[in-house]
């Protein structure tokens, strides 16, 4: 009888001690940051903050690729003379005749080699309103990323995950990201070199 009471009391005391020490070691609960992230994100239920107000007044299009689902800026509304068929009513050859008013004369294609790419790689002369895939399928201008993804599959994968490109607004939902043509000119996709936007003259003085 007495032994049992002693055991009960001991267990109670021990468990109390354990809870106290656990509380004290709350900070060192995890062996590494990786463990902490893993454990604490198990019952992640979303956050109450939204990035909606920082997106601005752009219209967006939904993208669903694999497990990823996000928004990209709508494109057609940004093109001054869309729809293209307003001008492209006759075959291209006829429009290119001498003496006719020139359009798109300033577009220069610096994108891969000439034998690999020309206008017809992406545009279809008989359906100017849409883009054209390598297999001659029509691609909506709002989904022009599909065209780029045909060759740039690594970038496409990184873009979906978020390692390539930029997001618009903030870090939380809704996820709005820039699409390829928001940063790269499709006709000259290479980002040009330039001068840094800053030079710290004070640092130079300090290090003299």
């Amino acid at each position: 009888m007495k032994k049992a009471t002693v055991y009960i009391v001991l267990t109670a005391v021990l468990s109390m001690l354990m809870t106290i020490s656990c509380n004290q070691h709350h900070e060192a609960e995890y062996h590494s940051l990786k463990d902490k992230i893993e454990v604490e994100s198990i019952d992640f239920n979303g956050v109450s903050i939204t990035s909606e107000q920082y997106i601005g007044d752009i219209t967006t299009v939904e993208v669903k690729e694999g497990v990823h689902s996000f928004l990209i800026p709508e494109r057609k509304g940004q093109i001054t003379s869309f729809p293209c068929v307003e001008c492209h009513t006759e075959p291209l050859q006829d429009l290119q005749e001498e003496g006719k008013k020139k359009a798109h004369w300033d577009i220069q294609l610096i994108h891969a080699d000439e034998e690999i790419m020309n206008c017809a790689t992406c545009h279809n002369g008989s359906n100017m309103n849409s883009l054209q895939s390598l297999a001659k399928g029509a691609i909506d201008i709002n989904h022009s990323y599909k065209l780029c993804a045909q060759c740039h599959s690594d970038q496409f994968k990184d873009w979906q995950g978020g390692a390539h490109g930029k997001n618009i607004g903030g870090w939380t939902e809704p996820r709005v990201v820039m699409t390829c043509v928001n940063c790269h000119n499709p006709h000259q996709p290479k980002i040009q070199s330039r001068w840094p936007s800053r030079f710290n003259t004070q640092k130079v003085k300090e290090r003299e």
Binding site: V47, A163, T172, R198, Q202, V204
Partner: protein, 361 residues
């Protein structure tokens, strides 16, 4: 007298505490009878604060005298301006605010009401001194958020747009050209030789045979700077941000010495920002104006990030080399980068656990 305050209150000539029926006959404040009477009772809290933290400890006469001197200066100023018939209401209010600010507690220990009160005082003080209105927040960390950052070394081209955006956003001193971010131009094929890298280049970028790597405060999960602070003026918040209470910092620069990443900056002189360039969207722990002799550093733009926005450097980067997000959200982009790219951190062997990863395409 309001007896519910944690710190000693100097009430300069106030007889009644009911706001509208004050002796001065005004309801606009400035007579010292209107201010800060509505703070709820926080006496029950265990944490010592303000006056108690400073004076409710055993100390010898010399220490006590030293501690009192600074406060007396403020007190004297307050009394002289309040008792004088010629001083304006504004300067009386200024003196009152200075007094309250001098004896406020450590931000870390404040209740939400106290945080709001100090923020309100600072906003009012700015209004009185500069005649301009600022917006200051005391927003706390959100639940289920742990901020993390990733930097793509193959994308950065060294344009330094991030640095400019950071300086503007965070009201950094223009005179000393303080910058939280450093972009290192490193020669390819030599590894990370920071001693041979150039962080103040000025030529067309990207330079042939070089790559660019940005460093700033890494918001370590096990921050050595926090360990060494003798007054607990810097700490790690629940959402992982390592922050500083500029009003509690004594400027000993131990943290600067302890940081293995050169993430911290010291104000050798009073920081100056032209009035029209001051970012008026501020946070107590973030970009509010600092003073001479205190530390500051990157806060992942706490004033932006806590309300769902990307830090200024992330937004400004023209190459998309900077990725920011919530480490606890399994669907966030930062998590995708950590899980799908080959990431590494600087000086990982130190066990500081930075929440700032580098990766390549």
């Amino acid at each position: 007298m309001n007896t519910e305050k944690k710190w000693f209150k100097l009430d300069l000539g106030a007889k009644s505490n009911t706001g509208a029926t004050c002796g001065c006959g005004k309801s606009s404040g400035g007579c010292n009878s209107h201010s800060y009477q509505n703070l709820p009772s926080t006496m029950e809290t265990e944490a010592k604060d303000g006056f108690d933290q400073v004076f409710d400890v055993k100390m010898d006469r010399r220490t006590a005298f030293r501690k009192l001197t600074a406060s007396l200066m403020i007190g004297a100023g307050a009394v002289s301006s309040s008792c004088s018939l010629t001083t304006s209401d504004d300067s009386k209010e200024k003196a009152q605010i200075d007094w309250e600010e001098q004896f406020k507690g450590n931000y870390k220990l404040m209740s939400d009401e106290e945080k709001k009160a100090t923020v309100d005082r600072l906003v009012r003080s700015y209004q009185l001194r500069k005649g301009k209105n600022i917006k200051m927040s005391s927003q706390n960390a959100s639940e289920d958020v742990l901020f993390g950052y990733a930097f793509n070394i193959s994308k950065c081209q060294g344009y330094m747009d991030c640095v400019n955006a950071c300086v503007q956003e965070n009201n950094q001193d223009r005179n000393s050209q303080m910058q939280y971010i450093r972009i290192h131009e490193i020669e390819e094929g030599k590894g990370f030789q920071f001693n041979e890298a150039d962080d103040n280049y000025y030529h067309e970028v990207p330079a042939e045979g070089h790559f660019y790597m940005g460093t700033q405060c890494f918001h370590c999960d096990n921050p050595p700077c926090v360990e060494v602070c003798p007054v607990q003026a810097t700490w790690r918040e629940e959402d992982g941000l390592v922050v500083i209470d500029y009003d509690w910092c004594v400027g000993c620069r131990y943290c600067m010495a302890a940081c293995p990443y050169d993430g911290r900056r010291f104000n050798w002189s009073t920081p100056e920002v032209p009035e029209n360039e001051v970012n008026k969207n501020q946070h107590y722990l973030g970009n509010r104006m600092r003073k001479k002799g205190v530390m500051e550093k990157c806060t992942f733009c706490v004033q932006r990030s806590r309300s769902g926005r990307d830090p200024a450097c992330v937004e400004a980067c023209p190459t998309g080399a900077r990725i920011f997000g919530n480490l606890l959200d399994p669907n966030s982009t930062i998590r995708w980068v950590l899980e799908n790219k080959k990431v590494f951190r600087l000086k990982e062997d130190l066990g500081t656990e930075p929440k700032f990863w580098y990766f390549m395409d």
